[in-house]
Symmetry: C2
């Protein structure tokens, strides 16, 4: 089975597509650019969603649901927003079909044209702020800390499963505040929450930083991003949190009476992560044998395979171990399928990235042992059945930590400080990865670098130290390095 995967060295892009397909994560659909998220891929998304939802609620947020459709005129209300989002989107123009009078099938009923076209939401700032206008009158109504789990549509030309699809699933937080300071704090708190989630649960280290003016969200004053590094040396933007200032409040006339009984515009943030995280997860940890999943997001954490077949004695022992693990909150599958050989099963669970595999044979049992295989390093050990539950739960922690360390080490090894444009280009063409370089803080330079190297300014890292230097492109003075990379 593993042979069916293209190796990373041979063709990284094909390797990714092979994993998505062979691990049963997603499929193409009959609709251009839209994928079907298959049960195993969706189970990973559910793990991501449930954990984030818990973290949002712990920080005082509540969920709500706003309409899928946005009246066309709403998009024009915020000047920058319309430039960013009123481009490639799905436009609903009619509300009825009718039988084709000239033949079979159905046609659009020309009589059922909408007075104003509706846009399938590419993001919901406009419809939400048009609603907040009714919800906010006084400082007592603030803050509003609302999140939505939803589907959105952006009519992308070149799509790839999870990484870029016309329809995708996401969460979008939209908060409203009485003061600038509180809104800025919210945007930064979520920025930290995202970084904590990706590192602790996805075992994916990220660089936290601010976007340049050119890369900011359309309508934002500041955009904070978390940037991860994939195994092919390309960056992936994994989540963004925006301080929106009063831009949307002004566009939708959302004011409130402050404690001094003065009318003020409301301050806003928005923030989101998407099913793209599943793509990031795949590309951070997986290998040429298939998917590798961090235990905290694995739908099945441990699989027990009786060898060579599920005899009653082996099944009883497997169930005993499984029950012990389940009592510790571990998700376990016992594979009782008698139609497939153990070797075939092993390859299948490797492909699906199950973190720990227990192979239980009759001779092992006689020796009070069991074979424990870990997916991350592919190491195998014979382990005593005494204390096997504790052994496995500790191993799961160990795998989680090892994956984070491996990804962190990879990023360290693939982050290069460069001080001139020749080195900048050479590193990008050969080694790839993150490049830390001085930049003169002009959009002009940023765009020229992009044009000449295809690398984009990923972020101005929040922890970049003050350091005098000169811009690698223009030679003008710079006070700190910023992060460049080719990106997804």
């Amino acid at each position: 089975m593993a042979k069916e995967i293209t190796s990373r060295a041979e063709n990284y892009s094909q390797w990714y597509n092979d994993i998505v397909k062979k691990a049963g994560l997603a499929d193409n659909s009959a609709v251009r650019g839209c994928m079907v998220i298959k049960p195993y891929g969706y189970a990973i998304w559910e793990k991501i969603r449930d954990q984030l939802d818990k973290m949002f609620k712990e920080t005082g947020h509540v969920n709500a649901y706003f309409p899928l459709f946005i009246p066309k005129s709403f998009l024009s209300k915020e000047a920058q927003h319309v430039e960013g989002f009123a481009k490639e989107c799905a436009v609903v123009t009619h509300h009825r079909l009718m039988n084709d009078p000239n033949g079979k099938g159905v046609i659009v009923d020309p009589e059922a044209k909408l007075e104003e076209e509706l846009i399938v939401r590419p993001t919901s700032e406009t419809i939400i702020w048009s609603t907040y206008k009714d919800w906010i009158q006084s400082y007592r109504d603030l803050p509003l800390l609302i999140n939505q789990w939803a589907n959105v549509v952006r009519w992308e030309m070149r799509t790839r499963p999870f990484l870029r699809t016309a329809e995708f699933l996401w969460q979008e937080g939209h908060t409203a505040h009485a003061t600038e300071n509180e809104a800025r704090q919210e945007a930064r708190m979520i920025h930290d929450l995202y970084a904590q989630f990706t590192e602790e649960f996805m075992a994916m280290p990220v660089i936290q930083g601010a976007k340049s003016e050119n890369e900011r969200f359309a309508g934002a004053v500041d955009t904070y991003t978390i940037e991860a590094l994939m195994q092919d040396g390309k960056a992936l933007q994994a989540g963004t949190s925006h301080f929106l200032g009063q831009n949307f409040a002004k566009a939708f006339e959302v004011t409130f009476m402050n404690e001094k009984n003065e009318s003020e515009f409301v301050w806003a943030t928005s923030w989101g992560v998407t099913t793209r995280l599943v793509g990031a997860l795949i590309m951070t940890h997986s290998d040429d044998d298939g998917l590798v999943l961090p235990p905290k997001l694995a739908p099945i954490q441990v699989v027990i395979v009786p060898i060579p077949r599920p005899d009653p004695e082996l099944v009883a022992k497997a169930e005993e171990i499984a029950n012990g693990l389940k009592a510790k909150g571990v998700s376990v599958k016992i594979d009782l399928d008698d139609s497939k050989r153990p070797g075939f099963k092993f390859a299948e669970y490797e492909m699906k990235g199950v973190p720990v595999r227990l192979g239980l044979g009759a001779r092992d049992m006689a020796n009070n042992q069991i074979e424990v295989a870990r997916r991350d390093t592919k190491e195998k050990d014979n382990v005593s059945l005494d204390g096997i539950v504790e052994y496995v739960t500790e191993l799961l922690d160990d795998i989680q930590n090892n994956l984070l360390k491996r990804a962190y080490d990879f990023r360290q090894a693939n982050t290069t400080r460069v001080d001139n444009f020749d080195d900048f280009k050479r590193i990008l063409d050969t080694k790839g990865g993150f490049v830390l370089a001085h930049w003169d803080r002009t959009t002009e330079t940023e765009l020229k670098i992009k044009e000449e190297t295809k690398a984009t300014l990923r972020c101005i890292p929040i922890d970049a130290p003050e350091e005098a230097g000169i811009c690698v492109y223009s030679g003008k003075p710079s006070s700190r390095r910023v992060l460049f990379a080719k990106a997804y």
Copy 2:
């Protein structure tokens, strides 16, 4: 606050709208027929969703996600389905907007017309069975037991929050089976699961039955329904489960090789419940003071209000009680808002249907007592603080049971057996409710009854005893009574 609600006797429909608004469940949106589900309303939906999701998973189902859009031609592939669903729906015809060359704002780019229009899914049988064709080759690929949580759009002309909206949230199960028997069993198992859910969690008794041919889902061989009775004597269809035969397999050419290596068409079911359940919940239990929620679906089960204000000693005691309740899995809110008087707070929690309210005053505490108010009966008691946690957890069970009993008694009192058409019309015009009557099993009679009385055939109850009789309309022989009512 309660005064702001219209009473049921005065105007039932307005009462419903008042509760939706005053309890903060939903709001109208700028998009015709689409509602905004507010945080409190969404929290109830989350409770419903999480419980159903658990029950689906316990019965072997997994979640997946299929595209929002359906190619127009797909709707025509199943002959009955197209009649039912290719009518009022949202049609995407273009994929780009552009700046209006003649002025401000944006217009639809005429160059960006889709080759084939896309329909925003009104239900997903067609897109899912077009996918199943790729997933199913052999009996070893079956059964597929897949569910999806999603939004759907049906361009309804007359809408009401939760009960009928253009966009709504739902789950749709779509299963594929090797045999007719297995598919029929699945459809009936889900039918039972729905009834179990509504009775045990929503405290809403339902009549289980089969739909008549005229009321069946477009494309189904059999439709099973659960029918609830609202307080105004109208029926509400709360969920349906369909045995689809091989209709969609034939339309999308989905075949499999059976164990004898013969090619056969696959057997199918589909089933769903929607955000309409929130409307049903409101109308089953609420009263003229506001929302009444069964404890099992209440976002806040217990609220503790220090009286007259949150003094440190009272707050400490409230927290002690809250922690005791939380340890038992009860969701508790302590209201520390010092800007509102207790009386105002009481009315607010009544409006929001919080099942139990604890009023903790200084004098109460001195007497080792606390005031316990239950929302269902509005009874108040002074209860000893010793064992208060056990008292409240038992009270929550008691409220849950009482609401079910009350709803059951109401249904019993409002279900009438009639034996002639004069009585049939008289009961519907005066008492309303469910009417059990003999029917000759023809669509012709069913439609005439509907035309003359506005009552529809809700279902042929599965537990209706064999009983010789004559059809109330045609006088022809009948072997069992069926259920009629005016309906939402």
